[in-house]
Amino acid sequence: MQSILFLILFPLVVALALSLVRRDAVRRWIVGVSALVLIIACLELLRNHYAVPIHLYQVNADWIRPLMQFIELGLAAYMISLAVRHKKWLIIPLVLAQAGLGLWFELSQGHRLAAIFPLFMNQLSLIMALIIGIIGNLIAVYALGYMRDYHAQKKDVPDKRRSFFFIIFIFLSAMFGISFSNDLLWLYFFWEITTVCSFILIAYRGDRESIDNAFLALGFNLVGGLAMLLGIVILFLHQGIFELDRLLIQGKFMVMAPVMLLSVAGLVKSAQLPFSSWLLGAMVAPTPVSALLHSSTMVKAGVYLLVKLGPVFNGTYAGLLIALIGGFTFMMTSLLAISQRDAKKVLAYSTVANLGLIVMCAGIGTYESIWAAILLIIFHAVAKCLLFLCVGSVAHTIISRDIEEMGGLIVAMPRSAWLMLIGMAGMFLAPFGMLISKWAVLVAVIDANPILSFFLLYGSAATLFFWVKWMGKLLSVNQPRENIETGINRTIWLPLYILGFLMMAVCLFFPFVSHQMIEPYVISIYGLSATISRGNMIIMIIMMGMLFLFPFSLPSKRDKMKTTRLVDIYMGGANIPGSKTFLGSAGAIRENAFQNYYLEKYFGEKILLYPSIFLALGLLIVLMIGAVA
């Protein structure tokens, strides 16, 4: 148990240290060393506990609950003061409702709220901890170099890096807390801390747009938090329990209402429709924030909760509706991503889409779907993080987030382009991880409820389109470009390379991970688990082997091409020889330029976004009514 406490408390210490440090050099040391320490701690945890189905831990400290309550009230006051300062009046009733409910609950029932086992650990929480520990810390290291470039480029943004890194480590601590909390009130506490962290980090730039989006995120997440608190209160008042492990063993129909409310919290946190706008708006934040909070970790907390509740959803009408929301989100956001030119927006929509898949699996709640969901969590965290970090450093170098500016990046920034290609391939291509996960989802859906396959299939078609389109853009050298990749900091390259390597390692070794950790977890709940057959594994390894040969098969610039001759592209003979320009009318020299299809008329936000939100809202209302009934 010391390891768990260490993981929760150590980042707090680091955060405190970082809040005092002004010099970047010292900061780099502290972050670097802490990252290493935390990663090692996570791996140690893995080594000692991976075989154990579940461990519950006692914590004898009565002062924890009052301290949490005190912090919650403090944060509430802080948020109200900010809301007043920026005239965001809607926030105030939400905060007051939450604080009020929490306070009333504590005062009236507090004496009965001493959980026997507030902390726990099982393979799923271990997997979450590994994701937070490894990926979270890699992002923290990346942020060192990134934020330095950020401020060098954006001179008008005030340098608040002390509080930035302070919040990042507080956030890591809170995420560890979420992973290991058995006591629902502890879960709620850490959950709200992540909400506040997200709020502060989104507003980093300090301009009108960032502040507005930060409050948007805050507002949505407060609704989620309120739902969670309400759920906890109802659960306690009706059933007398407030621990997760005891919740999971109750009869489904007795706990449906509180589970529904907790699910709403999960849906909001993972930005499912109709709550997606906060995540899309959060893309104004610096890239490490987008990677850490809004793709790899915080939003995973939302689906983590839903996956944990998965067994409860199995076979229920509520589960079906949750699955519908997830599937519908996957399909609509994948279609919406086709029309986006802003690289971060594409990644954001893709994130929401993949979270939708996980939510769908959680809603189905069979052993196959939970297995698929966990696979999705792992692979998506790695691939998406890699993509966000690459896009961040590329965006700094080409001073644009527009995909159309990334043409020929394979020549202009070869290392970044290759890493991005690996990340993108990892998102949808066989034999990489996400494909395996989607395959597992398909099988789970077919066996449980084939009607949901509709969303899965159409969404997948869309994802292939926009990923290959982007890959093609990177590869397509329409005009000669020079290599502009020099000068990128080591603190940026190191996490990128590690993530690229992790991406491939996790694809190669996932059967091992599945066998050692995921399957035991699923078996411990359902008695049996899905797995990937040996024959298919062998085929996929052969495919990976062949793919691995691909980069080596490309002739390098130095190869004297004996049997191959380089010629102009075909432009009707109007080429200016030896260049990629052509002679237009009146003797004007024109460039060969090509833009991808964005199909805004069909898949644009103006067409799809509001109908999607309304339909999803409708589903949600049906869900809530059904739960109450």
Partner: protein, 145 residues
């Protein structure tokens, strides 16, 4: 023997008379696809460069460009009298002559407008030239290796 001559057809400054006859060769009446002839629009896929019309300042570089984008072995066929010598427009100030002023021409097919039978004859003869060039190319490759 070459059984799959793929053609790219380019109109230099032709009056379109010869072009119509070239296209007529593809119709059921003459049906050159029997011989495996396909009219690709792409020099990179073509073996035989069929040029009608004469060369002027504007299309000089275009003809050169298309010729360069064709992979070896390739054959150039000048179709129609304008392509052979400049035809009746030879004395014009803007006409440079036939394409042999810009690229090496292998066969000349006379006529104004040239008859489809003559075009087919020309293509068949071009196949023999193509075959010779291929043997030459293979021999050179063999020497290099």
């Amino acid at each position: 023997m070459q059984k799959s001559p793929w053609i790219i057809h380019y109109d230099g400054s032709s009056c379109n008379g010869c072009d119509i006859e070239v296209l007529a060769a593809l119709t059921p009446m003459y049906d050159v696809e029997r011989f495996g002839v396909i009219n690709t629009g792409n020099p990179k896929h073509a073996d035989i460069f069929l040029i009608t019309g004469s060369v002027n300042e504007q299309n000089k570089s275009v003809i050169r460009n298309i010729y360069d984008q064709m992979p070896n072995p390739k054959v150039v066929l000048a179709v129609g009298i304008c392509a052979c010598t400049g035809g009746i427009f030879r004395e014009c100030y803007n006409v440079l002559g036939g394409p042999d002023k810009v690229i090496p021409v292998d066969l000349y097919v006379m006529g104004c407008a040239v008859r489809p039978e003559a075009i087919i004859d020309g293509v068949v003869k071009a196949l023999e030239v193509w075959e010779d060039k291929r043997r030459e190319m293979t021999r050179k490759r063999g020497l290099k290796v």
